[in-house]
């Protein structure tokens, strides 16, 4: 995280971060000169949400194209892991609100 802006009147900091896996994170606040300011109650929650999955069935050979709608997804395909019944779904594209992935050739795996 880095400091995005400082509001001295209201004694407030605005922080930004580059994304993280879903979960809760404890934030430790330090000052360059004063050292540790505090950790109590500084909890940051990162969450992604799924609002719809387009296909709920697919060929037993694999190859189904899935569309997953939601929010707070990573735009980096390397951050996304989608499995269907234990089979990897290869990321075709990903945005903040939609992931497209295609199941591999399952017949070659079984």
């Amino acid at each position: 995280m880095y400091v995005y802006s400082v509001d001295t009147d209201n004694k407030a900091l605005q922080l930004k971060y580059n994304g993280a896996p879903s979960g809760e994170y404890e934030i430790i606040l330090t000052h360059d000169n004063l050292g540790l300011i505090g950790t109590n109650d500084f909890i940051f929650e990162a969450r992604s949400f799924i609002t719809a999955v387009s296909a709920n069935s697919g060929s037993s050979l694999g190859g189904t194209l899935l569309t997953i709608d939601g929010k707070n997804f990573s735009e980096d395909p390397d951050d996304i892991l989608v499995e269907v019944d234990g089979y990897m779904c290869e990321i075709v594209s990903t945005t903040m609100t939609q992931i497209n992935c295609r199941l591999g050739d399952i017949s070659s795996l079984t």
Binding site: S22, I50, N56, S57, S59, S60, L65, V84, D85
Partner: protein, 229 residues
């Protein structure tokens, strides 16, 4: 894994409990029966025709052909037939061929896992148009002090270094060379390929008459001038 197996998934991203993540495996909806490849000389493209069942007529998005993991251009779909224009391959043949319909891979796709192209055309296009001045052509980009370049045709320079764009049905991993038939030597000292079907040839010093035949060599197989345009 059994067909019709049911997977009761659980959300792992945030509060998505209202979204069903159940999954059902089904029999393949589409099937490939035969597949063939032909060259369409009206558009200078190879066309793959797939005969099968389970296609959605007139829906070009309902069926996809992938060759070497490149999606090809779907141009026609009927209930029993689909046609694709080849727009990308790594080489002139591939065993990595997959056909998808909306439910996934089509049954039998792996029985027709080879697409081969017999190269039937190529086209050489000069990349630099050189202005003519009293029969002497002076390309500004190569002109140096006291140096004059003479051209045997309206394209190129006998000093070499000119650039031709070669269009044909070769892939990024094919070895491409342009041959000067009268002397049977390759005229490209460097060939750059960036996309399927297109290469750039930087020439060696050689005088090429406008009537001289050129031939294209793809992976050691020469394509004669009769097939060029």
């Amino acid at each position: 894994m059994s067909e019709e197996a049911l997977n009761s998934g659980s959300p792992t991203c945030g509060d998505s409990a209202a979204v069903s993540l159940d999954w059902t495996w089904t029999d393949p909806v589409c099937e490939v029966l035969t597949m063939n490849t032909e060259f369409d000389n009206t558009i200078n493209k190879y066309i793959v025709t797939v005969f099968g069942t389970g296609f959605t007529p007139d829906d070009l998005t309902s069926v996809s052909l992938f060759i070497d993991d490149f999606e090809q251009n779907t141009i026609m779909v009927s209930a029993t037939q689909a046609q694709f224009e080849i727009i990308n391959m790594l080489t002139t043949s591939s065993s990595n061929v997959r056909l998808f319909c909306e439910s996934g891979l089509c049954a039998g796709y792996d029985q027709f896992d080879n697409v081969e192209l017999d190269l039937v055309y190529f086209q050489v296009i000069p990349e630099h148009t050189i202005p003519q001045v009293d029969g002497v052509f002076a390309p500004a980009r190569r002109l140096q002090d006291e140096e004059t370049f003479f051209f045997s045709s309206e394209y190129g320079t006998s000093a070499g270094g000119d650039c031709y764009r070669i269009r044909g049905s070769f892939g990024l991993e094919d070895s491409v060379q342009l041959y000067h038939v009268p002397t049977m030597q390759g005229i490209c000292r460097e060939v750059r390929q960036q996309v399927y079907g297109e290469a750039y040839c930087e020439t060696i010093p050689l005088e090429i008459a406008s009537t001289d035949e050129l031939a294209l060599d793809v992976n050691g197989a020469l394509i004669g001038c009769d097939d060029s345009s």
